[in-house]
């Protein structure tokens, strides 16, 4: 076919055929997803399934090119599918406007794919897909971008490092006392405005905010008790919403009285600058001039507002939010729950309120104030995103997919975009080995077929784990909610699995407590048998014990834990890897695609003995060979938690 000519030519017939026959799952149809879908379609992939829960937002349109103004609020997955279909109607495309964590997407469903692409924007979903792909033993190509930075990684169970092999930065939480009593950075004041003030006045209580750490100890117990009382008093002021005196009551409470109380605790300010309370009635007279410029101030997104301007915005946004909440109350049903307003970075009213309140608090504590534009980013965890980075990363994903299709995992790369190392733009590293201590991939996995009508815990413990897999006396069986069996807790043995909360598609973890030589953790994926299992109610699907020679105890198919991380490091590579022999190409003879792509010829590998490659010519080289954390130049905040929605 003519249309296929270039692909056929460059990929070669065997690879081109593999591409056409592959079944692909793409999780996420956002920034990377749009680019990736286009590239997959034009590379000739025959069948692509798309899962995305999100709907399209105005701020997506600067890069998610399959979407237009008229698609706002529609499903990303469905609109992306339609756009790709228009391009090639012969394609087999399926879209799910759904959460990838939904039970319909179980391990067996994942097993139906040749490979999976992650084009996600959050840690939680990434870890979930990582887990599912490990359980289903399907290769995963993981990618992410933030601003000019990006990253691509191939994950194949047992062969390359998985997403969880290196610890990921978790969202930051702040001690409640830092936020409520001793702020020292702009972010502390922003979190205060968003997770305390806004939610106490217009939402539910701050206790539900994950950004606040309420852990108590003997040192802060007294202060925390005081803070509780303060919050109670604030709730009372909430009753005055809508009255003339409400703004002053609220302002004086949080910007004067509470500050006075803090200021009076002198031992708190021995090593910190004491705060300066602001009095409403005396300050409000000075803001008349700023008041006349209100609409101009509100349009001024990138300039830092002064004290008076912040007061104007505070009062105005408070009025807007109060009115909104009251009209919500007047129209809501009597028996319905109390309506609330929560922070949304794209909701102007909440953003104005948080920006002005945070700045006022910063002024009180002598902390630098910020523009609304900056506060939006900090309060809304906004990650900069552009089309260019997504295009590069999506291209790299597809390049890695060719190696995955050929099963050539040893030549897969972990690639980083390094836009601030102008001598390269990309840095590609050899894949990393799995981390032997990784909780997600250093485990054994198997599916078990279970006759739910009769299988008991005893069937699992005695017949399957002990007799078939060779487990000894000491091990623990955990469900996703907690332990159901160990050597001392045997009362559940006679119970049926279904009565212990185990269903089809649930996961069980078997932890071996053998003193001498424990097995790695075993993860069982429970599959409900649809036909009658003749002899045994539980059958292993992927592994089963082979009777050992003496017939006494079966040899265990579950590997033992490695003794230490050091031993298991550096499989296969010793000394300097030989440079591939040059291809003996003779002028005039065409190389086949097979020859060209079959190996990566002529690439000198770094010697294994130099532990870090930092001495390379440009000094920014990273070395992932030892499973060490990879570092990239990052102008923003140094994090490699990479996201693009």
């Amino acid at each position: 076919m003519l249309r296929d000519r270039f692909n056929q030519q460059s990929l070669g017939v065997p690879l081109n055929t593999m591409v056409k026959e592959a079944r692909i799952l793409m999780v996420g149809a956002g920034g990377i997803g749009c680019e990736l879908l286009k590239n997959l379609v034009l590379t000739g992939f025959g069948e692509i399934h798309i899962v995305d829960l999100d709907t399209i937002d105005l701020s997506n349109l600067n890069r998610q090119f399959l979407f237009r103004q008229e698609h706002i609020k529609k499903s990303k997955a469905l609109v992306a599918k339609d756009a790709a279909h228009k391009f090639n109607p012969r394609l087999k495309l399926e879209a799910h406007h759904a959460n990838i964590k939904d039970p319909q997407f179980n391990v067996n469903w994942f097993r139906g794919f040749t490979m999976v692409f992650n084009a996600l924007d959050n840690l939680d979903a990434r870890r979930h897909v990582n887990k599912m792909c490990l359980a289903a033993d399907v290769p995963l190509i993981e990618s992410g971008t933030t601003g000019f930075n990006g990253q691509v990684q191939v994950i194949k169970k047992g062969q390359t490092a998985c997403y969880d092999c290196t610890a990921k930065e978790t969202p930051k939480s702040f001690p409640v006392c830092t936020i409520r009593s001793t702020p020292s950075q702009p972010i502390h004041c922003i979190v205060w405005a968003k997770s305390y003030l806004l939610s106490e006045i217009f939402g539910t209580s701050e206790d539900e905010s994950p950004e606040l750490d309420h852990s108590e100890d003997s040192e802060n117990a007294q202060e925390i008790e005081k803070l509780r009382q303060e919050a109670q008093a604030l709730k009372l002021i909430r009753e005055a919403m809508g009255t003339e005196s409400f703004p002053q009551l609220l302002f004086d409470k949080v910007f004067k009285d509470d500050v006075e109380r803090l200021k009076s605790m002198q031992e708190m300010w021995k090593t910190r600058k004491p705060p300066r309370p602001i009095d409403y009635s005396s300050t409000v007279q000075e803001v008349a001039d700023a008041e006349t410029r209100k609409s101009e101030i509100l349009r001024d997104d990138q300039r830092v507002w002064n004290l008076h301007e912040n007061i104007v915005v505070f009062r105005d946004s408070l009025k807007r939010l109060s009115r909104r909440l009251q009209s919500m109350k007047s129209t809501s049903d009597l028996d319905a729950a109390e309506p609330i307003i929560t922070f949304d970075k794209d909701d102007e009213d909440t953003l104005d309120f948080v920006a002005a309140s945070a700045n006022l608090r910063s002024i009180i504590f002598g902390i630098e104030t910020k523009s609304r534009f900056d506060i939006k980013q900090m309060a809304g965890n906004i990650i900069p995103a552009i089309a260019t980075t997504n295009a590069i990363v999506a291209g790299l994903c597809v390049l890695q997919s060719f190696k995955v299709l050929r099963g050539d995992f040893s030549s897969t790369k972990e690639v980083f975009l390094s836009p601030f190392a102008p001598e390269r733009l990309l840095s590609s590293d050899r894949y990393r080995e799995p981390n032997p201590d990784c909780p997600a991939c250093s485990v054994a996995q198997t599916r078990v077929l279970v006759d739910m009508s009769r299988a008991t815990l005893n069937d699992l413990v005695e017949d399957f784990l002990r007799l078939e897999l060779g487990y000894g006396d000491e091990f623990v069986v955990n469900t996703e909610t907690g332990p159901i069996y160990d050597v001392e807790e045997t009362e559940n043995l006679s119970k049926k699995l279904k009565d212990l909360g185990i269903k089809g598609d649930s996961f069980l973890t078997i932890i071996d407590d053998d003193d001498e030589n424990p097995r790695v953790n075993l993860i069982l994926n429970v599959q409900e048998a649809t036909t009658d299992l003749e002899d045994r109610p539980i059958k292993g699907l992927d592994i089963s014990g082979s009777p050992s020679a003496d017939g006494d105890r079966p040899a265990s198919p579950i590997p033992r834990k490695r003794k230490s991380a050091v031993e298991s490091n550096g499989q296969g590579v010793t000394g300097i890897e030989e440079v591939h022999p040059m291809a003996n190409g003779i002028v005039g003879i065409k190389r086949t695609a097979e020859e060209a792509l079959g190996h990566e010829s002529g690439e000198a590998k770094r010697p294994k003995t130099t532990v870090n490659g930092a001495n390379s010519a440009n000094g920014t080289s990273v070395n992932g060979e030892h499973g060490s954390a990879l570092i990239i130049d990052d102008s923003t905040d140094g994090a490699i938690v990479i996201d693009d929605d």
Binding site: E35, M328, I340, R424
Partner: protein, 525 residues
């Protein structure tokens, strides 16, 4: 359960515009002035070959909102185009490729204007380039007719317009940036930790006086006051004392270590903590902040450059000249003016911040005064002078290389030698040589490619890696892989944005991509 209501927003009468919202995620990278530069830009793409890489590059420029683009392309859409170019469909078959691509690209962003060329019978390249200076930047994809290329190069020379060439064939690709003359960048976005400049070894009178006041009775200060002298003031105080006893400031590493000791001895230890936090901060800051002011090589390069008569009339060179004079007079650059966070009493810290800010403002005023003396100085925006002063230590000049057979020979001579020495992956130069040999022909056999290479760098032809690259280019037969073109298109548009916004440092000047190994290399060719 509480009902969570997030979105019954009343009509919005204030706040950022829809455009700001649409571009929110990118404004965080290049700010409003970068966005304005993009919106003022008109980009010309001369498309050729199978035509995908240029269109993919444009896509990434249309999305963030360049002002205008023009695609010049004689081709008529053929069946093979549909397999590689996303911005064409079945209905496009037999029609003008430039017109169809412009229509599809324009759909991506209604704020962007698109034009196609040729529009009518008889439209030719002379006409396209004959309207004078109207393009901000020209991109052309290879292969290209030598005659057309010569006209583009002439246009670039005449109007000082940056040119970007792109070649994508099979798994290989490269792009090359040709900047007109010297290309200065003020806003290079240096790492935020690198920008602190405290002037500890050459404090100005206000700072010295402030230090004297705060430390004049240092031994009799209360515990609270002593523990709250900002570390910056402590360092200034002990540097002065060190100078008295040593006759100069600590300069060597050994000196600085001894000085660190000297500072820490000043801390009071007769308190429950057994030390003072501000002294700890001072000790920790010694190595990073106690250093003679020196110009970075990139600033020296800017200072030493002799702008041409034409160049010297631009605001960059007028401000540079003023800053050079400033440096000549004071032996230091204008002060950036920011002070890092430190333990201090609030009022003292604010005062300290003000001292730095006032000095920074004075420096800007002095530079501005010099600028104003220039005949064109009145037209220069004070904001530009301020930005320049703030970034003065990080300005950068990119000199375009002289493209000639000799440089290519030189690079070829050392390409793998260097790679082996540093244990870096081998050079991608062979890919460039092989693609470059097909700059003016739609496709070529391996032997034809080798023959062309031998005309410029005969010694490369015996290298098996060059032969291998030639084979691969021959095999691609002038065809593009969509994925490679999309990826290099992403990289090209990234560099184009840097050039148009004059922010961040663009590559210098050739980036080669090997799609088989997912590697790139930047070479100056």
């Amino acid at each position: 359960m509480t009902e969570v209501v997030t979105n019954p927003t009343p009509p919005i009468l204030h706040g950022p515009s829809d455009k700001e919202k649409k571009y929110d995620r990118q404004l965080r990278l290049w700010a409003a002035n970068g966005q304005q530069a993009l919106e003022d830009a008109h980009i010309l793409l001369l498309n050729s070959g199978s035509g995908t890489v240029g269109v993919e590059t444009l896509k990434n420029l249309v999305l963030p909102g360049i002002g205008k683009f023009t695609i010049a392309d004689d081709a008529v859409v053929a069946e093979a185009d549909l397999g590689v170019n996303f911005f064409l469909d079945e209905e496009s078959l037999g029609q003008s490729r430039s017109e169809r691509c412009v229509n599809f690209l324009q759909e991506l962003n209604p704020d962007v204007k698109g034009e196609h060329f040729p529009k009518q019978e008889g439209d030719n390249i002379e006409k396209l380039l004959g309207y004078g200076r109207q393009y901000t930047l020209i991109m052309y994809s290879l292969p290209i007719e030598p005659y057309t290329l010569a006209l583009i190069q002439q246009y670039g020379q005449q109007y000082k317009v940056p040119l970007v060439s792109i070649h994508s064939a099979g798994f290989y690709s490269y792009f090359q940036i040709h900047l007109p003359g010297c290309f200065p960048i003020i806003d290079t976005h240096p790492d935020s930790t690198a920008t602190t400049d405290l002037r500890l070894l050459n404090p100005w009178p206000a700072l010295s006086e402030f230090t004297r006041n705060l430390t004049k009775d240092i031994d009799n200060l209360s515990a609270h006051e002593h523990g709250h002298i900002p570390y910056l003031v402590l360092l200034l105080y002990y540097l002065e004392k060190w100078k008295e006893s040593h006759g100069g400031f600590p300069s060597t590493y050994g000196d600085k270590k001894a000085f660190r000791e000297f500072v820490s001895e000043g801390a009071r230890t007769d308190n429950p903590e057994g030390g003072e936090e501000n002294y700890d901060e001072a000790v920790a800051a010694v190595l990073k902040t106690v250093s003679e002011p020196s110009l970075s090589s990139s600033v020296k390069d800017v200072f030493e450059y002799q702008p041409t008569a034409e160049e010297s009339d631009s605001s960059f060179w007028i401000i540079t000249d003023a800053i050079k004079k400033f440096y000549g007079k004071h032996g230091e650059l204008p002060l950036p003016g920011s002070v890092p966070d430190m333990k201090a009493q609030s009022s003292v810290y604010v005062e300290l911040q003000n001292i730095y800010k006032v000095k920074a403002r004075q420096d800007v005023a002095e530079v501005l005064e010099t600028v104003r003396q220039h005949p064109r100085g009145k037209e220069i925006d004070v904001n530009e002078v301020e930005t320049f002063c703030k970034n003065a230590a990080f300005v950068k000049l990119i000199h375009s290389p002289d493209s000639s057979a000799d440089t290519l020979k030189e690079i070829t001579g050392m390409f793998d030698e260097q790679a082996l020495l540093t244990m870096m992956p081998l050079s991608l130069l062979p890919i460039y040589l092989a693609l470059n040999a097909t700059s003016h022909v739609p496709s070529a056999s391996t032997s034809e490619i080798i023959a062309t290479i031998s005309k410029t760098v005969p010694e490369a032809c015996s290298d098996p890696r060059v032969v291998q690259a030639a084979e691969e280019v021959a095999r691609a037969n002038g065809g593009e892989l969509h994925n490679i073109s999309a990826m290099i298109g992403g990289m090209v548009s990234q560099e184009v944005i840097k050039i148009i916004t004059k922010q961040y440092i663009p590559i210098d000047n050739t980036c080669i991509l090997d799609g088989i190994t997912s590697r790139t290399q930047v070479l100056r060719i």
